[in-house]
Symmetry: C2
Subunit: 197 residues, 2 copies
Amino acid sequence: MIDTKQKILDAAEQLIGDQGYAATSLRQVIAAAGVNLAAIHYHFGSKDELLHELLVRKAGPVNEKRVELLERYAAEADGAPLPIEKVLDAFFAPMVETADANPQFVRVMGRIVVEGLLPAVVQRSFQPMFSRFVTALRRAVPHISEEEFQWRIHFMTGVIAHTLCGVPGGNFQERIDRLIRFLAGGFHAPGVRGAER
Amino acid sequence: MIDTKQKILDAAEQLIGDQGYAATSLRQVIAAAGVNLAAIHYHFGSKDELLHELLVRKAGPVNEKRVELLERYAAEADGAPLPIEKVLDAFFAPMVETADANPQFVRVMGRIVVEGLLPAVVQRSFQPMFSRFVTALRRAVPHISEEEFQWRIHFMTGVIAHTLCGVPGGNFQERIDRLIRFLAGGFHAPGVRGAER
DNA sequence: GTCTATACTGAGATAGAC
DNA sequence: GTCTATCTCAGTATAGAC
């Protein structure tokens, strides 16, 4: 069958979203997909590569929409720096759409981040998209030092990671709104000790 | 030897801090500790229990200091709600001390959180300490709804997790200061859409 | 009580027949 | 392309030596 690959991907997405990546064995995947164990290594090479292909297939279109949206906002702003909330909106809105159409994939993404596998994924596939958002954020918070900014990017990554993996129940859009408010507050904070509060 | 247990704990701390919990095999631990494989299961029962004992041994004193510090601040404030920065300071200061004396353990904690093992640990050992800090934070941000507050606690957990696991190099105290500023900004953010930025 | 030797089960990976 | 058989290594369990 030519859709053996697809069956493996579908089964893997379901299981990894439910249980996490490490907790999902390839033997569970082949049982759910109804294929042979060696088929995974034939089509993907390894468990890691299976995950990677799962991610790029689904995340690719989302990342494209993110960049598109960011550029549209930038064009509308006519050269002025975008407010943080706008940048974050461009980042999350395409994911919210995806969450409606395919909630399981969002859960997979959350698992990936929480299990510490995101850096490798970003390095391989998300880098161009991510760089543009970092640039846009930098323009939104010129009041802090570069070092402080880099740390805030780091903090933001942690929050996003932790949040995506939350309970799937509840309104996803609402959760993202709360997240954006929190992150914007963090980025707007003064860069040095003093007048906070 | 009666310090077989200690040798196992020391070796495990080193390896888990460097590689993470999942990536560290018990066979690596026994090789580094110079003991027999079954000794681990004799003294601890399982890999999970080994981790748990490692955490409570080191984190116990830190958590006690945290509560002490929080109560001292509360006494000094004479019943008034503590500002967020003060609450977070009580939480992190004891960890900074620990980080100076034992940086490896801080890395272990970070690994734990990033690998998603923290909920179980908190449930078993950190609950009383954690509850008091949540209460103190709640008093510091009365302007948001309870649901919004719970989410911000969730966001905070994610940031802390992600940050502890960062590169060990650099000034830990400075990193914590940046973290506190960011978190305070997030907690101070308005609770509903409107006037932000 | 403490520890060693050894075996059991299930994981990911691989070679080679069809 | 697919499957069978097998390899290595993980965590775990137990029997028995000191």
